[in-house]
């Protein structure tokens, strides 16, 4: 039985990255602090994984100011959405192949 592990996206190997991506796919955009609160993670951890996704060009970063406070927004790119969908398909296939 051949399990299609190779179809899984390396960028989503980390659980947190996958979670970030699912939030960004479900919402048009999400800001850093809301993400942090929702996922219940530390600043550094979240920032490093966001950077990783940004490097893959899966997400876009918009920096702006709300009054004097910096506000960083993230949104999923088309490439990121496609990669996420493909990753989910691969996960599904994995489950099917282990069952059969």
């Amino acid at each position: 039985m051949k399990i299609p592990f190779d179809k899984l996206d390396k960028a989503f190997e980390n659980r947190l990255r996958l979670q970030i991506m699912s939030v960004l796919v479900a919402n048009q955009r999400y800001d850093f602090n809301s993400l942090k609160e929702l996922l219940d993670v530390t600043d550094g951890n979240l920032a490093s994984h966001l950077k990783g996704l940004e490097k893959e060009e899966y997400i876009l970063v918009n920096k702006s100011f709300l009054g004097r406070k910096p506000n960083t927004n993230y949104e999923a790119t088309d490439k990121g959405k496609k990669a996420f969908a493909a990753h989910l398909d691969a996960l599904e296939q994995l489950i099917k192949s282990t069952k059969s």
Partner: protein
């Protein structure tokens, strides 16, 4: 990667997509209570106006003296404040029980989309009241409240959309029957809320 890992991944994705885009702490019980407050308010108003004894069909612009108007506005404000307070307190309790926060990105968005039609409708009603078109207040409040619910429904349970559409339809029918505003108001804010709240309570809260 094991099968359980994959299943955990998929479950966490589903959970996050839901939790990040929908405010699911909205309490059903608060809907029931809001309906009860509205019915009490409507009953007090009915008594106050001695409804039924006056033929409202004839004139849409009922001239009531300003002290009565002030009492009516006070009743409406009391119902509104009591409903909002109950909603916030019960929803906060539900959120706490589920380990979620009540003040997050989704609830802020929900509030914004609800507030826009409500503020517009509220200002419009104040203008109408000042100009003496009291009969228009009942239908207008139902319609704008319905619009607010429909607008907010993408951020919470889809049942809110159905409730909103019912309120709008009721408001429009109410506009066709001037003089019966109080009855429609009692159905819209009282009965519909109680039905909606009970359904939500039985479905999600327990």
């Amino acid at each position: 990667m094991k099968e359980t890992d994959i299943k955990d991944d998929l479950a966490s994705i589903r959970n996050l997509m839901e939790r990040s885009s929908k405010f699911i702490s909205l309490s059903g019980l608060s809907g029931v209570l809001a309906g009860v407050y509205a019915l009490i308010g409507a009953a007090v108003t009915y008594k106050l106006l001695n409804y039924g004894s006056i033929d409202y069909n004839e004139d849409m612009f009922v001239v009531v003296d300003s002290s009565v108007i002030r009492t009516l506005i006070a009743i409406a404000a009391a119902v509104l404040i009591a409903s909002v307070l109950t909603g916030v307190i019960l929803s906060a309790r539900k959120a706490k029980r589920k380990g979620q926060s009540i003040w997050n990105k989704t609830s802020r968005e929900l509030l914004f989309y609800m507030a826009t039609p409500l503020v517009a409708g509220g200002l419009l009603m104040i203008i109408f009241i000042l100009r003496g078109y009291y009969g228009i207040v009942g239908p207008t409040s139902l319609i704008f409240y319905g619009l607010a619910l429909v607008g907010a429904s993408s951020f919470t349970f889809t049942a809110v959309r159905s409730l909103g559409i019912c309120e709008i339809v009721l408001g429009l029918i109410s506009a066709l029957y001037p003089g019966y505003g109080l009855y429609f108001w009692a159905i819209g804010f009282g009965v519909l809320h109680i039905i909606y709240g009970s359904v939500m309570y039985l479905k999600y809260d327990r």
